[in-house]
Symmetry: C2
Subunit: 366 residues, 2 copies
């Protein structure tokens, strides 16, 4: 088991990465405030792992009062109406301010459970048990929680840190390849935005990673979480450097919003977004054609798309990008690459260049 610490003073917490952590309830028990536990999961993950988790917890501490809340699976349900179901479950159970929420699922479950915890009685404990590669390397770490709004992704939410993150590599064995790939997009992101050496390691090992090699996955998750933890520790509330973690996401969110949440997986949209951001960086003279090919190749090795949906237009991209959370007073801001391994937050005003970049990418889809 690898263990990292996310250093946020009184809100610090441990991230454990390894095999069969669902069978180690003693990792969880010290992080419960009281006896009341609500496990939030979805209709895909619950049949696979919910009983294993709750049985282990009950056996380790029989006096726990464990309730469950099972949501439908998918980004399409990451909204206020389904968030309210978690609150209904807490209130129906008469759970108090020292109850603990446990998120057992992917990023959607983690984000919703964290947001539910942030707002229930003005804030209760929660624990992340991410069950997808994407959520293990990204959303479960760092305390960003939220839901979507019809006018924008993750527009409603809170910064609310978990008390513990358990990333069990064993559960990745039941993860569809398409979802493994989507998670790999965020792993690749860490290489591109800040660690050229890690990018090289990924290029060497992508075949083994995509084949599900536990050792390699554990290594990749740990390095990704370490990268994220370092950035978050310096800038918890995203006033500066943390925005770099959004590399590829401004374009990616536009794709997700336009297509309707759930049509493209988040990681797929981010993969395409990273390629677009790399290509735009090239048009600014910051990356070479070879650099952009390297981005394209590593994404393809991870079975990820690089071209946007052909039904989109430059105008539909721009419309969605105008509501991005990074924008200030209507000023578009993008994360671009000064070079491979070095990202920068840029006030971006050259709309003709951006439209050209989008139009050229869209042409390739025809």
């Amino acid at each position: 088991m690898h263990s990292l610490n996310l250093d946020l003073k009184e809100r610090s917490y441990a991230i454990h990465i390894g095999q069969n952590l669902l069978n180690k309830p003693h990792l969880i028990l010290p992080q419960l405030n009281g006896k009341q536990v609500l496990v939030v999961s979805n209709t895909t993950v619950a049949p696979l792992y919910l009983e294993q988790l709750t049985t282990n917890l009950s056996q380790a501490k029989p006096e726990l009062v464990i309730k469950t809340c099972i949501l439908p699976d998918g980004e399409a349900y990451k909204n206020l109406a389904h968030l309210a179901l978690i609150w209904d479950a807490l209130l129906t159970a008469n759970f108090s301010r020292n109850a603990t929420l446990i998120a057992l699922g992917g990023g959607v479950i983690g984000d919703m459970t964290g947001f539910a915890a942030a707002c229930y009685q003005r804030g209760i404990n929660f624990i992340q048990i991410p069950t997808t590669l994407l959520s293990q390397v990204d959303s479960s770490v760092g305390g960003k929680t939220g839901v979507n709004h019809p006018l924008g992704k993750n527009m409603l939410g809170a910064f609310w840190q978990p008390r513990l993150v358990l990333a069990d590599t064993e559960v990745l064995k039941t993860l569809p390849t398409k979802e493994l790939a989507a998670g790999m997009a965020e792993v690749i992101k860490y290489g591109l935005l800040g660690d050229i050496e890690f990018l090289g390691w990924l290029e060497e090992n992508m075949a083994g990673l995509m084949a599900g090699d536990s050792q390699l996955l554990s290594e990749a998750i740990t390095r990704s979480c370490q990268c994220k933890a370092d950035i978050v520790a310096k800038d918890e509330r995203e006033s500066g450097q943390r925005a770099l973690l959004n590399f590829g996401h401004t374009f990616g969110h536009a794709i997700e919003t336009e297509m309707g949440y759930g049509q493209w997986l988040h990681g797929e949209a981010v993969a395409c977004g990273m390629w677009l951001a790399a290509d735009l960086s090239r048009r600014l003279g910051w990356l070479s054609t070879t650099d952009v090919e390297r981005v394209e190749n590593i994404l393809r090795a991870a079975k990820l798309p690089t071209l946007p949906p052909k039904t989109m237009t430059p105008a539909s991209f721009l419309q969605h990008m105008a509501v991005d959370k990074k924008n200030i007073d209507g000023q578009l801001r993008l994360i671009l690459l000064k070079q491979l391994g070095t990202a920068e937050l840029v006030d971006f005003n050259d709309l003709p260049l951006l439209k050209e970049c989008l139009a050229d990418a869209l042409k390739k889809t025809l």
Copy 2:
């Protein structure tokens, strides 16, 4: 103008109390992050004061983009569905993370606007301009925000501090007497829970206060805010002493929940709750009969009720009190008076005594 500072380190802010503060936009301008401002108000307050506020702001800084969101008036609308209207307005206006929300209204508007600010793009600025006595002395100070749930009052919310509070005594001239009385309940609360000398001052001046004397009101608001600010500065997230501010509220919330929000004014329910808490304290031997009469007299002088609604039962009280946020693992906790001017948070287990106290009060309503 009186000015207080609520000392919460990087979240500290000023509370200004005085006449005609709506006409002093220079107090507000330094607290705006950017150009985007959404003023949230309701159908009662907006016709009276919205234009005055927005005109003053626009004249002082013409480049401001000021939008408005007018909600229906009343506690019955303090719910998720109406909260979402504020987010819809922000997103429709394409407002970004450095927009500022201004709450212009009573406690409901302040709580909802604050909660909307806490969750919009994971947290934006907001400013409180409370227009009722109740919100000027209580909810606008201290950063408690939220909405009700059918199963409990203020069950959903966040701790989110405003950047500024402006309490304009001029607006109290249009406040109905019933609402002035409801606000006075919270003013009296500060005397009962922690300042016996202030209680004496209130007993002397209640006639003048209820007649709307501006000087006296300004003094009462300032002393109340100072009392609240002192407690909040020591315990922002209500892990201890701040719970004392809930004196009378556990019973009061039960009344509001049972009757349906909006039937009894919050302050009326709290007044009755304070009397019940005082009477329960007497049954424990902590207060004398004379003390309880003093509580009853000051509440009556402020035209406030002391008896619960006759349609309630001890059982309906207990059912609602079981979901109070102060409870831990199902343990009922109450704020009681060790003596007049000294409150204490108590783990309360003597259910027969509590039922007797409630039954005796209910008998008097027949």
